[in-house]
């Protein structure tokens, strides 16, 4: 019966007033929650629309910080190890190259992608999509694709997981030798905080609305 009603209903002209839950596909009236609040799907309770404050500023800040910290993380020494007059310094590049020998070589590419390339690519894509908006201009050409790329790469950016792995590894070697942490280690530790910051402040819905040329 509902279906019959809808075929007569001029629903196609009113798509802007509707929103579908991305987790359960329920069709709902689009009600924008008050600032700082999140509306949830009444059926599956997944977040529907979150109206966060300063979304563009916060997301750009996270992206620019990621780019700067990652540059520092690559250039500065990461960790050094000393024992019985021998010492060994490892950079992030050395960690990436750990699997370079033998048949585990493809893993080198994956590790490089997970801890450096993808986080940097995401930061670049976010800056490209959002900086023009921040400056009050129209979105750049391909801004929507760029933002979509940044969001789809999110699970594969693992800088924060890497630094937790390093912390675990350090426990294993502190008994073996003297460990010195370099600036690069702290840059990665800061990246962990940036990831948390981005997760709590980024609001996809707001950014998509701002990127839409029709709705500006």
């Amino acid at each position: 019966m509902v279906k019959a009603m809808l075929t007569r209903h001029p629903i196609m002209e009113n798509l802007d007033r509707l929103v579908a839950c991305r987790s359960c596909d329920l069709l709902l009236d689009r009600v924008i929650p008050p600032p700082g609040k999140v509306s949830r799907c009444p059926r599956c309770h997944a977040p529907l629309i979150s109206n966060k404050r300063s979304v563009i500023d916060n997301t750009l800040a996270a992206a620019v910080s990621t780019a700067i910290l990652m540059t520092a993380a690559i250039y500065f020494p990461f960790i050094s190890l000393a024992e019985a007059g021998l010492s060994r310094e490892a950079s992030v590049i050395d960690a990436i190259g750990a699997f370079a020998n033998g048949w585990s070589a493809p893993l080198t590419i994956a590790v490089a992608a997970f801890i450096v390339v993808i986080p940097v690519l995401r930061a670049a894509a976010l800056i490209y999509a959002l900086l023009p908006l921040r400056l009050g201009n129209a979105p750049a050409k391909g801004a929507a694709r760029s933002f979509r790329l940044a969001m789809s790469l999110k699970p594969w950016a693992m800088a924060e997981i890497f630094i937790v792995g390093v912390a675990v590894a350090l426990v294993k070697v502190t008994d073996l030798a003297t460990v010195t942490l370099g600036p690069s280690f702290w840059a990665f530790a800061a990246l962990l905080l940036i990831v948390v910051f981005e997760n709590t402040t980024l609001c996809e819905w707001t950014i998509w609305r701002l990127l839409d040329p029709k709705r500006r």
């Binding site: 596909d25 329920l26 960690a95 929507a144 693992m158 792995g165 990127l211």
Partner: protein, 217 residues
């Protein structure tokens, strides 16, 4: 809780029933049958195409690779000329012997508990879509969210191996090299992540609306 009242259902109807498709990337609504989203140019699918096959395929690949990941050594350590090989479980036991209980717990949690729980969770979600489940749709939804969120953290062990290999190269005194398990484990994690990503949570709710036809009936 007042924020929940903001969204009242117009009717209890899904986008698909209304002849609409919601873009999985940006949430824009479009008429069913439209190929690409007008806003973000993503391909539009009312439900992920061939989701069941893809989820099972990646999941099975992930489970198969998890076996060598546990049998073969993760780390090959040489100290003063003698080599020892450490598996995932072996490495965690070694940590307990050092007295590093918390770190051992992190390693076991990330490398054993999360992957195994993820295999079970994805399989349970898939069976639930097909045959119904004792768990409510809300519980299954939460299970899906946790599974998607936590899976990538299994990669910790691969990074532990990477940094140990890079760092512990002190010639005769001590050197550490990666074993074959590292590659198998990394692939297992990646495959399971792909499996979870291919799962379409909308299937959980579809199966409530219209009971899926039984395969044997």
């Amino acid at each position: 809780m007042d924020d929940m009242a903001a969204a009242r259902p117009k009717t209890t109807i899904t986008a698909r029933e209304a002849g609409l498709v919601s873009c999985t990337e940006c949430g824009t609504l479009a008429p069913l049958g439209q190929g690409r989203c007008e806003r973000c140019y993503a391909a539009l699918h009312s439900r992920h195409p061939r989701a069941e096959q893809r989820v099972w395929a990646w999941l099975i690949a992930g489970i198969i690779l998890y076996i060598p990941a546990n049998i073969y050594p993760m780390l090959i350590t040489r100290t003063f000329g003698s080599a020892s090989e450490g598996t995932i479980i072996g490495g965690a036991i070694e940590l307990i012997e050092y007295g590093a209980w918390f770190v051992a717990f992190v390693v076991i949690f990330a490398s054993v508990f999360i992957p195994v729980a993820k295999f079970v969770a994805i399989a349970a979600l898939m069976l639930g879509v097909r045959r119904g489940s004792r768990l409510s749709a809300h519980r299954r939804m939460q299970l899906y969210e946790v599974t998607e969120f936590i899976g990538r953290w299994s990669m910790i062990d691969v990074f532990v191996v990477a940094i140990l290999t890079a760092l512990v190269q002190l010639g005769f005194i001590a050197s550490i090299n990666p074993g074959p398990a590292a590659v198998c484990f990394a692939l297992s994690v990646v495959f399971t992540m792909l499996s979870a990503q291919n799962f379409d949570p909308r299937m959980i709710w579809d199966s409530l609306e219209e009971p899926a036809p039984r395969a044997d009936a």
